[in-house]
C-alpha cells in the first residue's frame, strides 16, 4: 500500500530567508488586530457585561426587526437581537433592570409574554442573567487565567530550554492570542466564557508546535556543532514539517466536524479554536523559530549543558 505523503521527504524550504517577510506579516496582523479591538471592540456576552440573555427558537424564520420592535416596545433599555445558528433562532439581550431578583423575573416574564403573543410558535430554550458584580469577576478571572498560563509557559520553556526560547515562544503566543481576539472584533461573534477557554486551548496547542520545533533545534544544535544557525533552524523546521502538517490536519479534521455538526452553542468556540490552530501553526513555523536567530541562539547556547543537564533531559 502506498501511503499519503503530502510533505515529500527531504523538503527544504528556506523559512529563515523569509523571516523578514514573516515578521512584517506578523506585525501587520498583530497591529491590525489591536486596531480592530480598539475601534470595533469585542461583542461581549452577558458573561462579561452582565445582563439578561434569552435564546428563542421559532418554528419558522422570523424577522429580526419585528421582534426588535416587540421587545423595544416594552421599554426595558437598549436591546440587542441577533440570529443564532439560523434564521429561526434569535438571541435577545437586555440590560438588567435595577432592583432585586423580582424585577429581573418580571422583565423575563414580560418579554416572554410579549414575544409569545405575536409568535405562537416561540419556545424559550435558554435564559441567562448575570449581575454586574459576577460579570466583573468573570472578566478578572479570565484575564488572570490567560496571563498566568502565558507566564507559566514562559517559565517552563526557559527552564526546559533557554531564555531565548521562552521569549520567542511568548512573542509568538501574544501574536496568536491577539489575532484570535482580532478575529472576534472583526466578525463580532459573541465573546463569552467559552471563548476564554478556547483562547487558553489555543495557547496550549500553539505551544505544542513550538516545543516540538524547539526540541529539534536543541537536538540539532548538539549534533551539528559546526553548522550555521540559519541552515540549522531551516533543517529543524523542515524535519518536523510533516509532523506539524499531520497534527494540524488531524486537529482541523476533528474541529471541522465539531464546527459543522456540533451545534450552534459551540460554533464561536470551535471557530476560535480552528483559527487559533492555523495561526499557531503559522507562528511556529515562520516566526518563533526564526526569531531565535535574532535573539542570538547558537551552538554555544547548550554547550555547557552538554555534559550534565543534557543527559538528564535526554534520558527521559
Amino acid at each position: 500500500m502506498r501511503l499519503l505523503k503530502l510533505v515529500p521527504d527531504n523538503t527544504n524550504i528556506g523559512f529563515v530567508r523569509m523571516r523578514w517577510v514573516a515578521f512584517a506579516v506578523t506585525l501587520v496582523l498583530t497591529l491590525s488586530s489591536i486596531a480592530l479591538l480598539m475601534t470595533r471592540g469585542l461583542n461581549l456576552g452577558v458573561d462579561f457585561v452582565g445582563g439578561l440573555m434569552m435564546e428563542v427558537k421559532f418554528e419558522q424564520p422570523v424577522k429580526l426587526d419585528e421582534l426588535r420592535a416587540t421587545v423595544d416596545g416594552l421599554d426595558y433599555g437598549s436591546s440587542a437581537l441577533q440570529n443564532f445558528g439560523g434564521p429561526d433562532t434569535v438571541l435577545v439581550r437586555l440590560p438588567l433592570p435595577p432592583g432585586d431578583d423580582a424585577a429581573v423575573q418580571k422583565v423575563v416574564q414580560k418579554v416572554q409574554a410579549a414575544i409569545s403573543e405575536n409568535h405562537k410558535d416561540a419556545s424559550f430554550r435558554r435564559v441567562e442573567t448575570v449581575s454586574g458584580k459576577v460579570s466583573d469577576e468573570l472578566i478578572r478571572d479570565g484575564i488572570i487565567a490567560i496571563v498566568l498560563s502565558m507566564g507559566a509557559i514562559a517559565l517552563f520553556t526557559w527552564f526546559r530550554f533557554e531564555w531565548h526560547f521562552g521569549v520567542s515562544t511568548i512573542v509568538a503566543l501574544i501574536h496568536d492570542v491577539t489575532v484570535t481576539l482580532g478575529f472576534f472584533a472583526l466578525t463580532q461573534l459573541e465573546f463569552d466564557l467559552n471563548i476564554v477557554a478556547a483562547v487558553l486551548t489555543i495557547i496550549g496547542y500553539s505551544l505544542n508546535d513550538k516545543v516540538v520545533i524547539d526540541d529539534r533545534i536543541r537536538e540539532n544544535l548538539r549534533k551539528y556543532r559546526q553548522m550555521d544557525i540559519g541552515p540549522l533552524i531551516d533543517l529543524s523546521v523542515n524535519e518536523t514539517l510533516s509532523r506539524t502538517y499531520a497534527t494540524t490536519m488531524a486537529l482541523t479534521l476533528a474541529l471541522g466536524s465539531l464546527l459543522l455538526l456540533g451545534g450552534d452553542v459551540l460554533f464561536g468556540f470551535t471557530a476560535a479554536m480552528l483559527l487559533g490552530i492555523v495561526i499557531g501553526t503559522y507562528s511556529s513555523v515562520f516566526v518563533s523559530s526564526s526569531l531565535l536567530i535574532s535573539l542570538g541562539v547558537g551552538p554555544h547556547t547548550f554547550a555547557p549543558a552538554d555534559t550534565g543537564a543534557a543527559e538528564k533531559v535526554g534520558s527521559r
Binding site: 430554550r125 442573567t129 488572570i144 487565567a145 498566568l148 517552563f156 477557554a197 529539534r216
Partner: protein, 530 residues
C-alpha cells in the same frame, strides 16, 4: 524501549479492561442501568445542566445585612444582660447602634467595670487565637463601645452560610424536585443546580425569602396621624401590611418568633386557604401567657418585616397552635407553609447569576456532540490510516481506547460532562494522535537514515517520548490554570482536557508501543511501510 515485562503487559491489559467495564454504563439509558445486578458497574457520567436542561442559580449572602443583624442582636443581648445583672440592674443611656457598633453610656461610673465583665462574657472566643467575636472597649470613662472583630464577622458568616445551605436544602426538598445540587462557593456564595427545572421562578421565590416569622403586639397607643406619616412611638416601629401596603405601628420586641415553630401546614378553613402552625412546648407556653395577658388587643403576624395579618386576640390561645389567615390562595399558602417549616434563612440571599437551559436544547446539544465526536474519530482515523498505514491503525486503536478511558475516568470520579467538555473531548481526539504522529514521523526519519526496522522503531519511540513529555506537561499546566481560575464552562472543559492529556499519553505511547512490539516480535519484518 521495546521490551515489556509480563507484569507490565498484564497491568496494561488490566487498565484497559477496567476502562471498558467502567465506560460501558454510559452507553445505556439510566433506568436500564439501575436495573442491572448489584455487582455490575452502574456509575454514569454526570451530565451538566447545559446538556440535560435545568436551572443554575448563584446566590450571594448580604454581608452588610448580616453584620447589621449581628449588631442588633448584640445590642439586645447586652441591654438585657445589664438589666438582669447580679447585684442590681446597671442603668444605661444614649444607646446607639450606628456605624457598625453598639455604644452607650453607663449612668453610674462605678458600674463600668461590672458592665465590662458581663459584656466580655457575652462575646465568644474564636478558635485558638484567643480572639473574641466582639471587642469591648471603654471610652471617656463611662462610655462602652462594642465592635465586632473581623474574626467575629468571618465566623458569623461561616455559621450563617452552613445553616443557610441546610435551610435551602430543606426548602428545595419540600418542592419535590429531583436531585438538586447545593454547594457553597467561596465565603459567601451558594450554587443551586436543579436538573430538569424549566421555570425557576417558584424556586427563586422560595430561595429569596428570609422567612423570619414574628408575632408582635400592635401598638394601639400610637397616634394614627403619626403612623400615617411614618413616625413610630418609642419602642415601636412602622411596618406595612403585606396586601394593602397600609402602615401599622407594632412593638419592636417580638412576643415570639418562628424559631419556636414545630410545624406548619396549609389548610382550607371555611373555603379560605390558611396556614396552620404549632409551637414547640416552650413556645406554646409563652404564646399562651402573652395571649392571656392581652385578650382583646390586636397582634401582628409579621413575615420578613411585612405584616400578613393583624387579628384581635379574642381568647387566650392555650394549645400552642393557631392559624395565619390573609389573602392566600393554594400556592401562596403552600409556599408560606414550606418557608415556615424549613426555618428562616440566617442571612439574606440574592440571586447574582442564573442560567436556565431547556431540555430540548440540551438534547440537541447531546445529539450534536455525539455525532461530531463520531465523525471526528472517523475523519482522524481515515487520515491516520492513509498517512501511516499499519502504524496508523495502531494509532487509531489507541485513539478509541483513549475515548473509552476518558469516559471511564469521568464516570468513576463523578466528574461532570458539559457542552464545553464535549468540545474538549473532540479536541482530545485530534490532539491525542499528535503523540503517534511524532513517533511515526520519527520512525520514518530513522528508516530513511538507513536504520533497521527494530532500531528505527526503538529510536523513534525514545526520541519522540521526550518531546511528547514536554508538550503534554505544558498542556497540563494550561489545563490546571483553567481549572483554578475558570468558572462554570471553563472548568468543565479543563476537566476533560486534563483527563484526556493523561489518558492520551498512556494510550498513544504505552499501548500503541505494546501493539507495535507484539507485531515486530511475531512477524519480524525486515521492511515496513510508513
Amino acid at each position: 524501549m521495546l521490551e515489556f515485562s509480563k507484569v507490565k503487559i498484564w497491568s496494561i491489559i488490566a487498565v484497559l479492561v477496567a476502562g471498558f467495564i467502567f465506560a460501558i454504563p454510559n452507553a445505556f439509558p439510566e433506568e436500564q442501568v439501575q436495573a442491572w445486578p448489584s455487582w455490575a458497574p452502574k456509575k454514569q457520567m454526570n451530565l451538566g445542566l447545559d446538556l440535560r436542561g435545568g436551572s443554575h442559580i448563584l446566590l450571594e449572602a448580604n454581608a452588610d445585612g448580616l453584620a447589621r443583624a449581628n449588631i442588633d442582636k448584640m445590642e439586645e443581648d447586652a441591654l438585657s444582660e445589664l438589666r438582669r445583672a447580679e447585684g442590681g440592674a446597671i442603668a444605661v443611656g444614649d444607646v446607639s447602634n450606628r456605624g457598625g457598633r453598639v455604644s452607650f453610656l453607663v449612668r453610674n461610673v462605678d458600674d463600668v467595670d461590672r458592665a465590662v465583665d458581663l459584656l466580655r462574657n457575652l462575646s465568644m472566643p474564636i478558635g485558638v487565637t484567643g480572639q473574641r467575636s466582639f471587642n469591648v472597649e471603654v471610652a471617656d470613662g463611662n462610655r462602652i463601645v462594642l465592635t465586632q472583630t473581623s474574626a467575629g464577622r468571618t465566623q458569623a458568616m461561616e455559621s450563617a452560610m452552613t445553616q443557610a445551605v441546610e435551610v435551602i436544602r430543606r426548602r428545595i426538598d419540600e418542592l419535590g424536585t429531583r436531585e438538586p445540587t447545593i454547594i457553597r462557593q467561596g465565603s459567601q456564595r451558594i450554587v443551586v443546580q436543579v436538573p430538569g427545572l424549566q421555570d425557576p421562578s417558584a424556586l427563586k421565590q422560595l430561595l429569596g425569602k428570609t422567612a423570619q416569622l414574628e408575632f408582635k403586639l400592635v401598638d394601639i397607643t400610637a397616634d394614627p396621624a403619626d403612623v400615617a406619616a411614618g413616625r413610630a412611638p418609642a419602642g415601636s416601629q412602622i411596618l406595612q401590611m403585606a396586601d394593602t401596603g397600609q402602615p401599622i405601628a407594632v412593638k419592636r420586641r417580638a412576643i415570639i418568633t418562628g424559631d419556636q415553630l414545630m410545624d406548619a401546614q396549609q389548610t382550607l378553613q371555611q373555603g379560605q386557604w390558611v396556614v396552620s402552625f404549632r409551637f414547640d412546648s416552650a413556645g406554646g407556653r409563652r404564646f399562651a401567657r402573652t395571649t392571656q395577658e392581652n385578650v382583646g388587643k390586636p397582634f401582628a403576624i409579621v413575615l420578613d418585616n411585612r405584616v400578613i395579618s393583624a387579628p384581635n386576640i379574642n381568647e387566650p390561645i392555650l394549645g400552642g397552635s393557631g392559624v395565619i389567615s390573609g389573602s392566600f390562595n393554594a400556592e401562596s399558602s403552600n409556599e408560606l407553609a414550606i418557608l415556615l417549616r424549613s426555618g428562616k434563612l440566617p442571612v439574606e440571599l440574592k440571586v447574582v447569576e442564573e442560567r436556565t437551559v431547556g431540555p430540548d436544547l440540551g438534547a440537541d446539544s447531546i445529539r450534536a456532540g455525539t455525532v461530531a465526536s463520531l465523525v471526528a474519530v472517523l475523519a482522524v482515523g481515515v487520515f491516520m490510516l492513509v498517512t501511516y498505514g499499519r502504524f496508523g491503525v495502531y494509532a487509531n486503536i489507541a485513539l478509541v481506547l483513549n475515548v473509552v478511558l476518558i469516559l471511564a475516568v469521568m464516570s468513576l470520579t463523578g466528574a461532570t460532562m458539559t457542552l464545553p467538555g464535549v468540545a474538549g473531548m473532540v479536541l482530545t481526539i485530534g490532539a491525542a494522535v499528535d503523540a503517534n504522529v511524532l513517533i511515526n514521523e520519527r520512525i520514518r526519519e530513522e528508516r530513511r537514515k538507513g536504520r533497521n526496522v527494530r532500531a528505527a522503531v526503538e529510536t523513534g519511540f525514545k526520541e519522540a517520548s521526550r518531546t511528547i513529555w514536554d508538550a503534554n506537561t505544558m498542556n497540563l499546566i494550561v489545563a490546571a490554570v483553567m481549572f483554578a481560575f475558570g468558572s462554570g464552562p471553563i472548568k468543565g472543559f479543563a476537566v476533560v482536557l486534563t483527563i484526556g492529556i493523561v489518558t492520551s499519553v498512556f494510550t498513544a505511547v504505552t499501548v500503541a508501543r505494546l501493539f507495535i512490539v507484539n507485531w515486530l516480535n511475531r512477524k519480524r519484518p525486515t521492511t515496513i511501510t510508513i
